[in-house]
Symmetry: C2
Subunit: 98 residues, 2 copies
Amino acid sequence: MDQVEIFKALSNKTRLQILNWLKEPEKNFPEQSDGFANGICVGQIQQKAGLTQSTVSEYLSVLQRAGLVSSVRKGQWTYYKRNEETFEILSRMIQSDI
Amino acid sequence: MDQVEIFKALSNKTRLQILNWLKEPEKNFPEQSDGFANGICVGQIQQKAGLTQSTVSEYLSVLQRAGLVSSVRKGQWTYYKRNEETFEILSRMIQSDI
DNA sequence: AAGTTATATCGGTTTTTCCCGATATGCCAA
DNA sequence: TTGGCATATCGGGAAAAACCGATATAACTT
């Protein structure tokens, strides 16, 4: 739980948007046809973000290293979803630690 | 209340330390002889941070632009203190917005 | 007015971040 | 096993951040 790493991950407009989109996958990624239980795959996120595939892939691993999302590989797809526990811890950390 | 600006301000170890020191001014800045009501002056913070005066001054204005601290000028000193309201808003923002 | 002290700002070097295109890897299908 | 698709990684150019030393400003002192 590296504070600086978390705040760096959150210091980017696109990454904040991605996290926000992942709060309501059904609403924000209606194109995804294979359910939402695993999360959302990189391609869907990339399309919505309007940045290149490499950039979005990199952004997602920044978020993952910070513990803000988790990923599952299924076949050729990697699905990302929010890790709500980290947000709760972070919120409490701001109230008590920082 | 610019989210990215706040998170950038928090993305630095020294700045996080400064915010933490300012939680308990009496404990962390016992050298300050003129009371704590106004906050802590730049020189005290600089000494504790071990960075140059210009760097610490710059850091404090980064924190101020993000709304995390406020400052008062008194004579030749500028006193900084935490702006607790921003931390509360931030904590809630993480629970609901982000 | 001239000197001293506290802070802010300016100009610069080094490191980090942003974002890209190209390439590698992993998985599936024919 | 060849080809295609999804994702990851690599190398790099441009912009921003992390510092610094030098200088400016502002206020106080004598």
